[in-house]
Every structure is written in C-alpha cells, then in structure tokens.
C-alpha cells in the first residue's frame, strides 16, 4: 500500500482512494470502465421515449423495422472503422469502400448472377490490405493514406457504374431472401447478419492475439515494438478487417436500396465514426472496442429516424448530427489525460 501510495503522490494526483477496501475498488473500476458508455445508454433509452411522445408512430412495427435496417448498415460500417481507431489510426475510406463494394456486388450480379454479389468481399479485403500495406510499410499516416485511397475507390466505383445506378434484378430468389427479407414478420435478416458479424468482431478483437496486438498498438506502439510484437502485420490486418466489413456493408446496402450508385456510402463516413465515438471508443486508441459500437449506432439511428419522422428538413438534421458528434466526443474523451489536442 505504501508503495502505491507513494507513486500516486509523486505523480501529483490526489490519491483519495488510498486505503479503500476491495469492494470499493471494484465499484470504482466498474464505474470508470462504464462511465463513458453511460451517457450513450441513457440517450438510447431517452430518445425513443421523447420521439414517441412527439409522434405515436415512432414505435410502430414498420418504423422499428426501418430503424433496424438503417442501424444494421451503420453498425457494420462502424465496426469497420473500429479496429483502425483502436490502433490510434483512422480509416477514412470506409464510405468510399462501401460504395465501391456495393457497385461491384451489383455489377457482379448483373453479369454473373446473384451469387456474384459476394465478389464484394474479396474486393473489400484487397482494398483494406492495400490501405494497411501503405500505412504499415510505407509508413504514411493513416489519415492521409485513407483519405487519398477513398478518392481512388470512389473513382473506381464511378468507372464501373458509369455514373448510373446499377439495379439489382430478380429479388425473389432465395439468396435475396437470405440477405434481405424478413425472418419473421418484424425482424429483418440484415439485422441478424449485422448482429452476428458484430459478435464475431467482438471476439476477434477481445479474445485473440490479433486483437490484443491491435489494442497494444493503440496503447503504446513503441512498447509493443520493443517486446517484439508483429506490429506491421497487425496494422495490415486491422485495415484488412476494415475492408472486409465494408464489403459486407456494401452487399447489405445494395439489398436495402436495390440499386448501387457510386456515392451510396459517402454519407456513412462521418456517421460511422460518430457511432464509434458516441459508443465510447476514443479516437486516441487503445480503449473501448467493437462492443460499444452497437450503442453508438442505436443512438444515432434513433435520432436520425426520429427527426425524419417529425419532418425536420435535411439541413436541420445535419446540424443536429454535427452537434451530437461534438457533444459525444466531449463526453467520451478523457481530455485531461490526453493532454495535448491537435
């Protein structure tokens, strides 16, 4: 105890917890771990209550379905952004990559039949690997790399589509049903897909060596490097995962809209980053995780859907969304600890 106490004193922090018993320490830890997600949880509960009181249709099964469908897509894209953010990097190409994979899926389906929508997955993976290779081995900042590659991806998408929407034909096939239809009368299949992929991603980041290395890079890259962790491979892996998840999102988006355009994903970029941050994963890396994406996604989707229902214009929506992102960043980031903000 004296040992620890001394350290706290030396660092100048008031060690008010000194001498606290074990249960108290546990309570404090729980509170510290969940303090940042608390606001998001509250918002997720308060928003539906608020919107229902303003418009009785909010909780109708039709609207809940539409919230589910919107949230499914956003969740997948937020998950895509999570691994790079956990490393302290960022992937700004998720929006463009969703457009690209969506266009490729539609183009594949048009050419080779429905099964070819899955072309989106290897394409997304390859694009992610390309991002990762540039960041890890050419040592360029991820911010710059992915911003630049997003232009390239959008360009490819435009070239394939020729500037026109590619419509998905023959939606009555069984496969369309697996990807799109409703499981029961109320539960869209895309929600199941998203939740399943969400669970797998949580496991991948929380329970595997790859995930641990991702967290370690975010926590202290130099420390990870010094003990001999495969930092570069993990970086490529994280961006590859991002690309793959964008591929999934591209396919789901295609079935949601039944037509792919070269800019279908562009609106998702900021919203998906917002979902990650609102969930409580700071952009500084090393903390938070895939699990928290769900709550961030829900809050944002509820908000957008509610405003739509109330008939607020697109301009108001954008202003509110922007304000929410800044408020969320304020609530979730421990700015005292980060010290310097650039």
């Amino acid at each position: 105890m004296t040992d620890t106490g001394g350290a706290l004193l030396e660092s100048g922090r008031p060690p008010s917890a000194l001498g606290a018993g074990e249960p108290l320490a546990r309570a404090r830890r729980l509170l510290r771990e969940h303090a940042r997600t608390l606001t998001a949880w509250l918002a997720a509960i308060v928003l539906p209550v608020l919107f229902t009181s303003l418009d009785g249709n909010y909780l109708s099964s039709g609207n809940l379905q539409s919230i589910g469908r919107q949230a499914a897509v956003l969740l997948l894209i937020a998950l895509a952004g999570t691994a790079p953010i956990l490393m302290g990097s960022i992937d700004l190409s998720v929006g463009a990559l969703v457009s690209l994979t969506s266009v490729i899926a539609a183009w594949g389906a048009e050419r080779f039949g429905q099964g070819a929508v899955f072309l989106a997955l290897p394409c997304g993976l390859a694009a992610g690997i390309l991002n990762g290779l540039i960041v890890a081995y050419l040592r360029l900042p991820s911010f710059l790399t992915t911003l630049a590659s997003s232009f390239a991806f959008a360009g490819v998408a435009l070239a394939i589509s020729g500037g026109f929407p590619i419509t998905l034909q023959a939606t009555a096939t069984t496969q369309a049903h697996v990807l799109d239809g409703n499981l029961s009368s109320a539960l869209p299949v895309s929600v199941l897909w998203a939740v399943g992929i969400w669970l797998v991603t949580i496991g991948l980041l929380r329970r595997t060596v790859f995930g641990r290395v991702v967290y370690a890079i975010g926590g202290n890259e130099r420390a990870a490097q010094t003990v001999g962790v495969w930092v570069n491979r993990a970086k490529v892996g994280a961006f590859a995962l991002s690309g793959l998840l964008c591929g999934f999102a591209g396919i789901i988006v295609l079935y949601e809209t039944t037509a792919a355009t070269a800019d279908v994903g562009s609106t998702y970029l900021l919203t998906s980053i917002a979902a990650v941050v609102i969930g409580g994963t700071p952009l500084s890396g090393g903390e938070g995780g895939a699990g928290r994406c769900l709550i961030g996604t829900l809050v944002l989707t509820e908000l957008v859907n509610g405003m739509l229902l109330l008939g607020l214009g697109a301009s108001t929506q954008q202003i509110v969304e922007g304000a929410v992102v800044i408020a969320a960043a304020m609530l979730t980031l421990d700015r005292r600890r980060i010290g310097i903000v650039k």
Partner: protein, 558 residues
C-alpha cells in the same frame, strides 16, 4: 487552518510578491508545511529556508515528499497547514502560472522547451514581444540580446543560434534555467526560485559534469532547489542538503555535515538501513556466491573460447556508429558494459533490434540472429528498459502489460482467449516476485515506478529467456525496489543460468550487479579494461576514475 503571518497574508492572497532579494536573503521559506491526501500525510510539518545564491539538495526516496514539496511551491497542491514564504511574504499561488509570475520556475526532465527552435528563440519565448516590430520577429536583435545575456551570466560557451536539439541534454536544462533568469530580468524580478526536478537522471558522467560547470555561474543569481536519487551528486552540487523521509524532514544542514554513507542511511531510514550494508543491496550480496560456485569454470569463459559452454550472447564485430564491438556473455554471467559517450547503451539497443543494425553479427545461445526486435525476442532474449514510458502501456491493465511479451513470443493465445486465466497468470507472476500490486485489471500507470520496473523484470523472466539486456534497469526507483530487482536478477542468473548484459548510469549498479565489468572505448568499441568480481574487486570509485581518465584523454564532442 492557516497560521496567519502578520498583515501580509490577509492582503496578499496570491498576487505576485515582487520583492527583490539580495544575496544571502531568504528567497523561499517553508513554515511547518503539511499536506494531507485523505488519510495519507505527504508532507509533515516541513520547515525549510533557501537563500539567494544557495543550492539546496533535496534528498529522499520515491514517495518521500520531494515532488509534493515542489508541487506546493508551484501552486499545484495547496498545503493543508503551514505557510510558504517567497521573499519574506506569504505566497499562495493558485496555479503554476501564478507561481511563474512570482518568479518560481520548475525545470523537469520533460523540458518545456522547443527542440525545433534555436537557443535564442527558446530563451526569449516568454518575452518575444520585445524583439518584434508589428508582429515581425527581428532575428538579429534577438540573437544579439540573448548572446549578451549569456555572456553576462557567464555562459558564452553556448551559441544562441544553434537549434536546441543539437545540444546535449545537460545543456538543454541549462537553457531552460537561462530562460527563467531572462524572464525574471525582463519582469524586474532579481532572484528567481528555480526547482530542478531530477536534473541528472539519464545523464552520463560527462554530461553531469557539464551541467555542474554550466550551473556554476548561474548559482549566485538564484535560489535553487534540486532533487536527485543519487546521494553523491547532491553532495557534489549542493551548498545545503535536506533529507525527506515519509514526508518528514529528517535532516538539514550544510554540505560538510554529510558524507555519502550518512546520506544513504538518512534517505533509506532505519528499516532499510540493512539494505545498505557493505554498500550493496542484500539480495545481490547473498545470491552472488552460490551463483559463482555453481560455475567454477566461468572464469575462463571470457573470450568465448571456452570449449564446453555455448555463450548466451556473442557479438562479432557489431558496428554501432563508428565503433565495432566484439563480446561474449556466458550462461549465468552478469556482464556490465561501460563506455565513454553513449556507446554502451547503444550496443544494448542495437542488439535488441531497437536501433538499426547493418554490420556485424549477433549470436544468441549459439544461433545467429537477424536484425530487428522480433528476431531478438524469438531467439529467446528479452530487453528491459528503465524508460518505463516506452515499455509499458500505462493506461492498459496490468495483466495486458504482463502478458504482452508472451503474446509477442507466440505463447499468448490461451491467455488472451480467457480474461480469467490471464488475470490468474498475472496474479501468480506478481505473487512469485512478491510485488505489492492491486487488481491485475487496474491500469499499470497506477503502480509506483518501482513496482512498474519490477513488473518489467518479472515479465521478461517469465519468458524463461537465455539472455536479458538491462538498460538502466533501476532508473528512478527507490532503494527497496532496487534491492528486489537486484535479487531477482541474481536469482535468475544463479538458479536458471540466465545471462545478463547491463548498461547503467550509476556506477554502483555495476559493482553491485555484475560478475564482470567491461570498459569499452567509446570511439572504437575496443575493450580497454575488464574487471572480474569478486577476485578483482572493482569499486565505483575505480570505475569512475577509469572513465574520467578516458574523457580527459579524449575531449567530448558537442
């Protein structure tokens, strides 16, 4: 709560007392200052006085209250009881900015300077307005003013036009002191109070000497309080010395009242005095002899030509800068590497793959190792650094930090897959090294420096390595943690045959920890001398003499 001192305390509050102190006058006075954090008393009725022209050396372990004392004077912490006087007036700064305006400057290792600017720009940064016209900086005037100021204070050896990152670390701290003096003069204050926070930690002998010589002309112009973990340095630098232990002032007096042994005893306190017996921590002293006995042949293994055993580490013409180093470390051997300049430390970092390696071979346990940290770790070796900020993920749980080397070595999958198993594994590691640590889920940054360092040693040894490189392994840790680290190293060497290669900035560490000490020529990398212990007992003094003679023979660069 506060004992009122005359009428000043009522009126002065925190406004800067712009009094002028003459030589010999008291600049800083502490009157029965007490600081409590909850149940813990960090400072207990400490009274001190520092006059202009005086350098007070503040001694004490981690947690003794040195930092708290600085925090009080800087306005970061408010005393629970007692009074701080600055130039004879009650002084209650609300923040460091407040304290600065009153002439209190704190200089830490993490300097508040800009490495990408020149010395002159750094010095005038606070007073830049004077050298600009309509917002445009007049560089010539600025350099001239700083140069004349440097001459005035007797530091004309430092070129104000040089970029700060071209200067040695010791001089950078001096630049920060010069800036403090300059700011004081600009604002009409004559004698600032300068608080030097561990100014010598991480500096080589040559740099410590440089710091001392550059500090010399500045001493008369300020009151200086300096902390250091090294007793000998406080004796070298200070006019007066004060010793804190457990928040209490246990001794205070002029330098002549102290010698190294007495100071060590005062710092450690009666309960730790036994650790200082014969000048070496008890763990190392006990473990040394059995380790020796188990390897009666270790004596002949110096050149690597021993037929029976494979060396744990062999360096063949390893190129580090312009130097070329060849060396052998046998299993169970603890070798210390000393050099002038920074060669010894760079050798360790080059072997560990942290600095690039282009020429020369590294063999670990009989196998040739390619460059890079991954290859080094996979060869069954570990690197332990005293730069804890570079080695730990401070915000991450203790458990994650403990298992990270396992993850790197490819044994981590099972631990990572189950948080419960990972915690249990960490708990066992902590207990087996008898460390005091809270829950493995707590962030590692909440541990004391000493415990963090012990965790670094423990997690390295948990890899069952054949070789461990120790790069200043007890940097900034208290004597109890130091003794525990020495004991762990001695145990691993004696019982498990782990080979150690040490680089340190404390010569005592070599004599306490090593079987063999190798002195390298900083320029060529040639082995100049080698001591074997205990047959050829090397003392810290004889090492220092050898090192200093080299520095004299070959004047330092920069």
């Amino acid at each position: 709560m506060v004992v009122a001192v005359g009428e000043t305390s009522a009126t002065d509050r925190s406004s800067a007392p712009r009094a002028v102190a003459r030589a010999g006058e008291e600049v800083l006075g502490l009157q029965r200052v007490t600081v409590r954090f909850g149940q813990l008393t960090a400072l207990d009725e400490v009274s001190l006085s520092v006059a202009r022209g005086c350098l007070l050396g503040l001694a004490g372990q981690n947690g003794a209250g040195k930092t708290t004392l600085f925090n009080v004077v800087c306005g970061n912490v408010r005393p629970s009881c007692g009074e701080v006087l600055l130039a004879g007036r009650a002084f209650r700064p609300r923040s460091y900015a407040d304290a600065r305006r009153a002439g209190v400057f704190r200089v830490t290792q993490e300097l508040a300077l800009f490495p990408n600017l020149t010395v002159a720009e750094n010095v005038v940064l606070g007073a830049g307005g004077r050298f600009s016209r309509a917002g445009v900086l007049r560089a010539g005037e600025l350099v001239a003013a700083v140069r004349s100021f440097m001459e005035e204070v007797g530091l004309d050896g430092i070129d104000p036009r040089r970029r700060l990152d071209e200067l040695p670390n010791a001089t950078r701290q001096v630049v920060e002191i010069v800036r403090a003096l300059f700011e004081c003069r600009e604002s009409g204050l004559e004698a600032p109070l300068i608080l030097l926070d561990e100014p010598t930690s991480g500096l080589s002998f040559a740099q410590v000497d440089l710091l001392r010589s550059q500090l010399e002309p500045l001493r008369a112009r300020a009151a200086i309080v300096m902390t250091s973990h090294r007793g000998q340095e406080l004796l070298d630098f200070s006019d007066r010395i004060a010793v804190l232990r457990g928040g209490r002032l246990v001794a205070e007096g002029v330098r002549g009242d102290f010698d190294a042994a007495l100071l060590g005893e005062l710092i450690a306190g009666p309960e730790h005095a036994h650790l200082l017996a014969a000048g070496r921590p008890v763990g190392a002293a006990q473990e040394r002899s059995p380790a020796r006995r188990s390897r009666p042949d270790a004596q002949g293994a110096e050149g690597g030509d021993h037929p029976a055993a494979t060396p744990s580490l062999r360096l063949a013409a390893l190129r580090v800068g312009a130097a070329e180093v060849s060396l052998c470390v046998m299993p169970g051997e603890r070798v210390g590497l000393i050099s002038d300049g920074d060669l010894a430390g760079r050798v360790l970092r080059t072997v560990a793959g942290i600095e690039p390696r282009r020429h020369g071979e590294v063999w670990i346990a009989g196998r040739r190792v390619s460059p890079g940290t991954r290859a080094f770790v996979r060869a069954g070796a570990a690197f332990v650094s005293g730069e804890r900020g570079d080695a730990l993920m401070l915000m991450q749980p203790i458990a994650w930090n403990a298992t990270l080397p396992q993850v790197a070595a490819g044994h981590g999958a099972e631990l990572v897959a189950s948080p419960g198993r990972e915690r249990a594994w960490t708990r066992e590691l902590i207990d087996s090294h008898r460390m005091r640590a809270p829950d493995p889920r707590d962030p590692v940054g909440a541990l004391s420096g000493g415990t963090q360092q012990r965790l670094l040693i423990a997690r390295a040894l948990a890899l069952q390595p054949s070789l461990v490189l120790l790069d200043r392994p007890t940097r900034g840790v208290d004597i109890a943690a130091k003794a525990a680290i020495y004991a762990a190293v001695a145990r691993a060497a004696g019982r498990d045959g782990v080979a150690f290669l040490l680089f340190s900035d404390e010569l005592e560490e070599y004599t306490e920890l090593c079987d063999r000490i190798v002195l390298l020529d900083g320029a060529s990398g040639a082995v100049l001398r080698s001591w074997s212990q205990p047959d050829q007992e090397a003392s810290a003094a004889s090492l220092e003499a050898a090192l200093r003679s080299m520095e004299v023979a070959e004047p330092r660069r920069g």
